[in-house]
């Protein structure tokens, strides 16, 4: 029982991450009709927003280690800590939550720049060319990051108060062995909040209404004399922010390296397509579904029945769903079927 609860929790948590990553991708698909292979790179850039902020906050005074003579080995004492004492320490400790504030404007700018500078010119081009150009962009972006931050993963710890685990068992009245890391619970909550905000925005604002109309029928909206172009730019910016935030919050769970975007790229495409092209609720549902199934497939009991099932579960589910439901869970007819 405890094990099941843990795996459900774990699946929800994974699902939150998948849904968050897929959300922006499906938004771009649905509105702009662009296959964005640079979406993983946006996730990666978000993660490196928090790396960069952490590096900035921990700019340090270097105290040389006298026992090492042939090169500079030093202990680092961050200036913030020297100047502000415990307050400084606390600021550094909260680097990841703080980088959310940094990531929103940065990712918005990156998104706008990408759309204005590149993506816009590819609306009318073939999907194949969109793939080539965005894939090229993704490689260039990750090579730039590699140049500045190296190829190894960079540790970005969560704030100390939530670095440990929560006794979920006690909260739910279950056994004491049901513990779960605080940060993962926060991630789950965070992803739900972001998803809710995006949905509310699209549902309850005029802007959102136009975008949804654009998703349904771009040409008709254009004929109504609405400047759909400007809204597309903003949609792209929003998608970039969502992807970036997913990246920022993921850093304590997975120390980021320059390649992290590519690792998530295929997965996010699978989630989006399983959910159904152009469907936001579909992407979210598929994210949670795949997360939970992946968790259960990794249980020793399941693995001993079906060896290797955890390796292929996501793809297997994708195949089954796409064969049973032609347009994924909640896809609409005619979107990206040609």
């Amino acid at each position: 029982m405890d094990a099941i609860v843990l795996q459900i929790l774990n699946g929800l948590d994974k699902g939150g991450a998948y849904a968050l990553i897929a959300l922006g991708l499906t938004l771009i698909f649905g509105t702009l009709g662009v296959v964005n292979f640079a979406h993983g790179a946006l996730f990666m850039l978000g993660a490196f927003c928090s790396v960069a902020l952490q590096k900035l906050l921990t700019l340090s005074m270097k105290v040389k280690d006298p026992s090492v003579t042939f090169f500079d080995a030093y202990k680092q004492i961050p200036y913030l800590e020297i100047w502000l004492g415990d307050t400084g320490k606390a600021i550094i400790d909260y680097a990841v939550p703080l980088s959310i504030l940094v990531a929103i404007p940065v990712m918005l700018l990156i998104g706008l720049a990408m759309e204005r500078g590149l993506i816009r010119h590819f609306y009318k081009r073939s999907h194949a060319e969109q793939i080539l150009v965005t894939f090229g962009l993704a490689i260039v972006l990750q090579e730039i990051v590699k140049h500045f931050f190296g190829a190894n993963p960079v540790p970005v710890p969560a704030p100390a108060t939530v670095a440990g685990s929560a006794d979920v068992g006690a909260l739910l009245g279950l056994g004491s062995s049901v513990i779960y890391p605080w940060w993962r619970l926060i991630y789950l909550g965070f992803s739900l909040v972001v998803i809710a905000i995006v949905f509310a925005f699209l549902q309850f604002t005029t802007f959102g209404m136009v975008v949804r109309a654009g998703m349904a029928d771009r040409e008709a909206v254009g004929l109504l004399g609405i400047n759909i172009q400007r809204r597309f730019t903003i949609v792209f910016g929003i998608a970039a922010i969502v992807a970036g935030l997913a990246g920022v919050m993921y850093t304590p769970i997975l120390p980021p390296d320059y390649h992290i975007g590519m690792d998530f790229l295929v997965l996010s495409f699978v989630v989006v397509v399983v959910g159904g092209m152009g469907s936001l609720p579909g992407a979210v549902t598929a994210g949670f579904l795949l997360g939970i199934l992946q968790s259960f497939a990794s249980m020793t009991e399941v693995k001993s029945l079906l060896p290797g099932i955890d390796q292929i579960i996501i793809y297997l589910v994708a195949v089954v769903i796409l064969l049973v439901r032609p347009r994924g869970l909640l896809g609409r007819k005619g979107v990206m079927e040609g």
Binding site: V68, P155, W183
Partner: protein
């Protein structure tokens, strides 16, 4: 019978093909006979020789590859008599004179393995076919090492392995033209065993998370063998997909399994991720069965461990070499490397540098670049002063036997490089094993 007829005609076709083929191949064979000692990429009268540095320059091990490349460049400098000579001053016995190798200046070419067998072999073939390398070296993964080593055997060019820890490299996949200085999973088990016994007792329940490919399996097997021999029980050994990223679904079952030790048979990025996440799940300060829960990472890499941040503090593991060692060889190498590049060398850098020097030294000893002679010089070569104590390059499987370091993640590092504390230097005799246990066939000297 018609079937026989068919076979017969087919056979005749094959035979006539063989005759034609033999006719075409004859001139080559005769040439081989005429000069018994011709070999691929013979430098002949060329004043230079070329080494090939085949390291991962892109992909997850790019930083490790960059470190390896730096070590090789340093080795070339030293061989050519530039710089402070590095380990050539401390190596015993040493036939190197600092005038290149056999009087020929050493040059080098580089290539990118991408940590993929295909790319690594393509890159190695370029070095052999186009650049005419006499020896090549490098790499950061066992899969690549095994793949490239078999190419070395086919092509008749010696390959000095870089970082590879799988038992297979000098076990069932060993090759006459491949040599490994780095230690292996079996030695890790042997070295770690007594320390584990001392620190954690004999009544422990271990849970393995193992990267689901050959290196992970050999390590799991080796560690299991050691720990079970001293009385530990293995609760479960769960295979995880390579590059899983999030390991949480494999870690949650550990919580309820009753195990009190978690052994992470992961390397590189997988290790960083699984360790970080295991610590987040509170495994480091958990109490089970009245004992403190322990995490073990059998193969540590300082470069990669940095990615796990504070999570590595207090974690036990083994490593091939660490820059904090105080013997003459290690000090000399850290000095040369540190002064050249401004930071200490990693274990990958050390093994690559030593491999380059050992090959050059063997050429000097053999007095020729002719691979079979160089191989014979390397086989059963005993040396000291290279940083791991007295070392034997065993001829039976081309594996080096030397000290293995048991290390612990440093609780209170004195600098950014001071991540691992050496707690025991296990002598070579304790990790030596019978080459027969892994099987395998070295293959011929002449190809």
């Amino acid at each position: 019978m018609p079937i026989f007829d068919g076979k017969f005609t087919r056979r005749r076709v094959l035979q006539s093909g063989l005759v034609v083929g033999a006719g075409l191949a004859a001139p080559m064979v005769m040439r081989k006979r005429a000069w018994a000692e011709t070999f691929r990429n013979d430098p002949g009268n060329n004043p230079n020789i070329v080494f090939g540095w085949n390291v991962p320059q892109t992909g997850p091990y790019a930083d490790e590859g960059a470190d390896e490349l730096k070590a090789y460049q340093l080795a070339v400098k030293h061989l050519n008599g530039e710089g402070d000579g590095g380990l050539m001053n401390t190596m015993k016995p040493c036939s190197l004179k600092g005038n290149g190798v056999l009087g020929k200046k050493v040059t080098y070419v580089t290539g990118d393995t991408q940590t993929k067998s295909d790319a690594a072999r393509a890159s190695a073939k370029r070095m052999i076919e186009k650049d005419g390398v006499i020896m090549f070296s490098g790499g950061s993964s066992s899969g690549v090492a095994v793949a490239v080593q078999s190419l070395a055997q086919e092509m008749g060019v010696i390959f000095m392995c870089g970082l590879t820890h799988s038992n297979d490299t000098t076990g069932k996949d060993k090759k006459r033209y491949g040599f490994r200085h780095f230690f292996n999973a079996y030695m890790t088990g042997k070295a770690l065993g007594p320390v584990l016994k001392e620190e954690m007792g004999t009544d422990r329940k271990a849970y393995h998370l193992t990267a689901d490919y050959t290196w992970g399996w050999t390590q799991e097997e080796s560690i299991k063998e050691t720990t079970e021999a001293m009385g530990w029980k293995t609760v479960a050994a769960v295979r995880t997909p390579l590059g899983a990223g999030d390991f949480s679904q494999y870690i949650t079952p550990v919580l309820n399994s009753g195990a009190d030790v978690l052994i992470l048979n992961h390397y590189g990025k997988d290790m960083v991720n699984s360790l970080t996440q295991a610590v987040q799940f509170g495994l480091k300060d958990k109490m089970v069965n009245g004992k403190k829960f322990e995490i073990i990472v059998p193969l540590f890499s300082r470069l990669m461990a940095r990615g796990a941040g504070d999570a590595i503090k207090g974690i036990l593991g083994t490593t091939n070499w660490n820059w904090s060692l105080q013997d003459e060889g290690s000090k000399a190498f850290v000095k040369s490397f540190g002064q050249e590049y401004g930071f200490p060398p990693s274990q990958a850098a050390q093994t690559c540098y030593v491999q380059a020097l050992l090959y050059a030294n063997a050429c000097e000893m053999a007095g020729t670049f002719y691979p079979p002679e160089v191989i014979k010089a390397l086989e059963d070569f005993q040396f000291d002063g290279m940083g791991n104590g007295p070392t034997l390059y065993r001829g039976a499987d081309h594996q080096c036997f030397k000290q293995v370091l048991v290390v612990r993640g440093n609780e209170n590092p004195s600098s950014q490089f001071d991540l691992l504390r050496v707690i025991k230097e296990v002598p070579a005799s304790e990790v030596t094993y019978d080459p027969k246990i892994f099987g395998g066939e070295l293959g011929p000297y002449k190809v």
